[in-house]
Symmetry: C2
Subunit: 229 residues, 2 copies
DNA sequence: ACACATTAAATTGTCGACACATTAAAATTA
DNA sequence: TAATTTTAATGTGTCGACAATTTAATGTGT
């Protein structure tokens, strides 16, 4: 099951389709990170004109999946540790604020819907192969709903429309499954409780801790891998 | 004197030039907020082909100055009070975090350079017509330098490369000069002191208060205007 | 006169070709 | 042989034209 981006607009034009295909291809590493993009080659590969391809490239640039330089060309972003940590810092700031406003702006229906979601997640998590599903889809699902719950269009566009494609890319490329799954689940529960209590200040603090803990967990794993590869 | 965006890349192609012209035209209201953009008309006006214009439109969309819908067209964003408040919320989150990391990552040279800048600002402010210059350029200059001082490329791109064009647009369209100028200057001093003390936590708190105060000031002015126009 | 269907005009999306810049290869010179 | 200049090739930027869609105008029926 694939979690759709809630900000995704309808796919009508062929440039839209190509954009989607390339987005998946880049996120999942089919088009390697850091590789240069040849417009004539890709256009032929997708059987479209260069104009249409360039339209798709522009949207990929919008969500920071490729970088373009004038008269030089496009290049898929490369996944560096520094970039990953910077992304987490940014998420901590934005999602923390989104969580604060979710506590203010979410409707009671939205909140109870999220509670149900967490319950079903916990069941699937207990029943099935443990951490995999929750870590991948469930976590993103939870964060998406919080961000949408802020009812702040600016935050929603920035995080869901731009940053989260990068987040998914890093997850794929670095393969982040960790022992933090069950702890992350507990943290989600506490965050939702703060929102349910309409305690925006606490909700922001907890969300920031949640993301910071995830970042520190990654930093630690990187450090371990660096010592004994 | 015009404060250049530090993230601005070299202007080489004609699409770059058109992008810059349109950016100014939109920010300063020459192309009215909320108006629809006719591609054939504008292309003829700038004496370029539609392809080149569309390239420029794509970049305008990247910094949230226009919105596009498939098969419908482009439209300049309109400046609403809700949009302005959302923008301030986002700035509070991002610049707060940037300020925290500026306290960690700025070099001693960068910090002393900023201190000098504030001194010269205070002199110009005392000498000249009071609040105008400082409110417009000096404030942006200060915030830019803090963001750059975070040394976080993700934050820098998001804030300077995208959000700040919108910030400038709102300043122009809503004409925000206020009695907060001298107080804002004092707040800048305190923020820089926290950075100089390498106190990231305090630096973030002060920056968030600084932006939140500005937001509340606007909310109050809006409320007054609504009561007795 | 109003609602709806049909046609016409205008606008956006896509295409292929050409102009220009960059990079790679070949040739010239020290 | 190594470095530098010339030349060829590849790739990006820009253009004008056609196809597909949306919007405006016209016409028809009740």
């Amino acid at each position: 099951m694939y979690i759709d981006n809630p900000t995704k607009q309808a796919i009508v034009t062929t440039a839209d389709k190509v954009f989607e295909r390339m987005q998946h291809a880049i996120v999942e590493g089919e088009i390697p990170a850091g590789s240069k993009i040849s417009e004539p080659e890709l256009a032929k590969s997708y059987q479209i004109s260069r104009s249409t391809l360039r339209e798709a490239l522009n949207r990929l640039e919008k969500c920071h999946l490729i970088e373009r330089k004038a008269n030089i060309g496009s290049r898929v972003v490369d996944c560096t540790i520094e970039g990953l940590l910077e992304l987490y810092i940014t998420r901590e700031a934005l999602e923390g604020m989104a969580c604060r406003h979710a506590a203010i702006n979410m409707t009671d229906e939205e909140i109870s819907s999220m509670k149900q979601m967490l319950v079903s997640h916990s069941q699937e998590k207990a029943l099935q192969e443990g951490v995999a599903y929750y870590q991948e889809e469930g976590d993103l699902d939870f964060h998406y709903k919080i961000i949408l719950g802020s009812h702040n269009q600016q935050l929603i566009n920035l995080i869901c429309g731009q940053l989260y494609h990068l987040v998914r890319m890093y997850r794929f490329q670095f393969g982040m499954q960790s022992a933090r799954a069950s702890r992350a689940y507990d943290e989600h529960l506490h965050i939702l409780q703060a929102i349910s209590d309409r305690d925006g200040e606490l909700a922001e603090i907890l969300m920031r801790r949640h993301i910071a803990a995830s970042r520190k967990n990654i930093e630690q794993k990187i450090a371990e891998q660096t010592l004994k590869p």
